[in-house]
Amino acid sequence: MATKSLKGRVHQLAESTRQLDFLKNGIFAPGGLLPTFEEKIKQSQSLPLRPKTLEILQMNLGYMCNQVCAHCHVDAGPDRKEMMSRKTLEKCLQILEKSPVSTLDLTGGAPEMHPDFRWFVAEASKIGVADFIVRSNLTILRANKKYYDLPDFFKAHRIHVVSSLPFYKKEKTDRQRGEGVFSQSVKALQMLNKVGYGMPGSGLQLDLVYNPSGAFLPANQQALENDFKKALKQDFDIDFNQLFTITNLPISRFLEYLIASENYEEYMQRLVDAFNPEAIANVMCTNTLSISWDGFLYDCDFNQMLDLKVVSPVQHLDDFDLDQLQNREICISQHCYGCTAGAGSSCQGAVV
């Protein structure tokens, strides 16, 4: 398993333009084996894809992470230094005060590694959003003593913790996320349970995210949640609220894996075959805006990683104007098939 990001390895796929070239050519070239996403959604009369009411503001605080997961769509890792400046964080607070969003979603990398993380969480929770999510990779809670009190900090601010755990057993988890990740994740979940997270009646929401550990789609979310609940309770006495299944999108390190393992074409075929027209109405770009560390605006975190900025006169926080933004067309490419396969996929799990 690689210990550096694509960028750190100076891999050609570190460039978003190379990824987009890949997604546009070959099987998706004009007259190619598979229809482009645009062609596909045209058939279901969903073109152009436009946003509905903005509900979720997702802020990517930076690409630094203590892990280097094989499937990471962010290409995060310890070698990534991009981080949101204090000025941009302040700007986000101003926008949060003015906009009608009901969910604030902090992601990364590992957002907890941002030096202003606690300050920002405290400030944002003063403004008050109905649902304040922090996406935690779990191992960060165990990575250093300075993070050990994070469960209490989360609790004090009524944070909704959403954590990745690709499987309820060691082997699959460690193969995707790195040696030792499973046992550290179990300890972190126990720490969260100890302060009340995921416990019945506590009101402290702890959800888990499942990504397939390979070139296949997630099965039924409810069935997997039942299996996770049973196994984690039985083996480690762990409780949690919901499981979100997320399909791996063919970008960044997952794209690298697909190509290197010669799974790319079959995986794309699988996504196209599993296209569900019902999912298109609820893809997350229809109610989310994603903000990058440097203050640019994107339809979603995936488009951020492909550097597909919003198609709007407003592309940066400095010019933020919600009415103008809501008028835009969403920028799509073949990676979008990951959001519409089967029961669909979003940061909140299945969409149909």
Binding site: F167, Y168, K169, E171, K172, P212, G214, F216, L217, P218, A219, N220, A223, L224, D227, D273
Partner: protein, 111 residues
């Protein structure tokens, strides 16, 4: 002719068997889909049974399909291999249990 009797791309054409007999094809696929729904057995358990049977009938399409289906359902490799051993044990046992017949005949015909 194709270079091999089995083409992995043929799995996707499975539904084409309905082309020459739509009514029976429809009945078959309706039945097939119902069989694999959640029931007294979970869909996950049924997937493992299908994997074991696929190895017993040695169908490369079904082996491909139900290995992937198992991966999607979170079946791990130990579970898959144990299911195969069940198939192997029943297959081997089915041969060996006929040894009783062999032994009977042997004894009957021998002095």
């Amino acid at each position: 002719m194709k270079p091999s009797y089995y083409q992995s791309s043929d799995l996707k054409k499975f539904k084409n068997i309905s082309d020459w007999s739509p009514d029976l094809g429809k009945k078959f696929f309706d039945y097939y889909n119902s069989v694999f729904e959640e029931g007294a057995l979970s869909a996950r358990e049924k997937s493992l049974i299908a994997l074991a049977v696929a190895h017993t009938v040695q169908c490369p399409y079904c082996i491909d399909a139900y290995t992937q289906d198992g991966l999607e359902r979170g079946v791990d490799k130990e579970e898959m291999m144990e299911a195969l051993h069940v198939a192997g044990a029943i297959r081997g046992g089915a041969s060996l249990v006929h040894g009783v017949q062999m032994m009977d005949v042997y004894e009957k015909r021998s002095m």
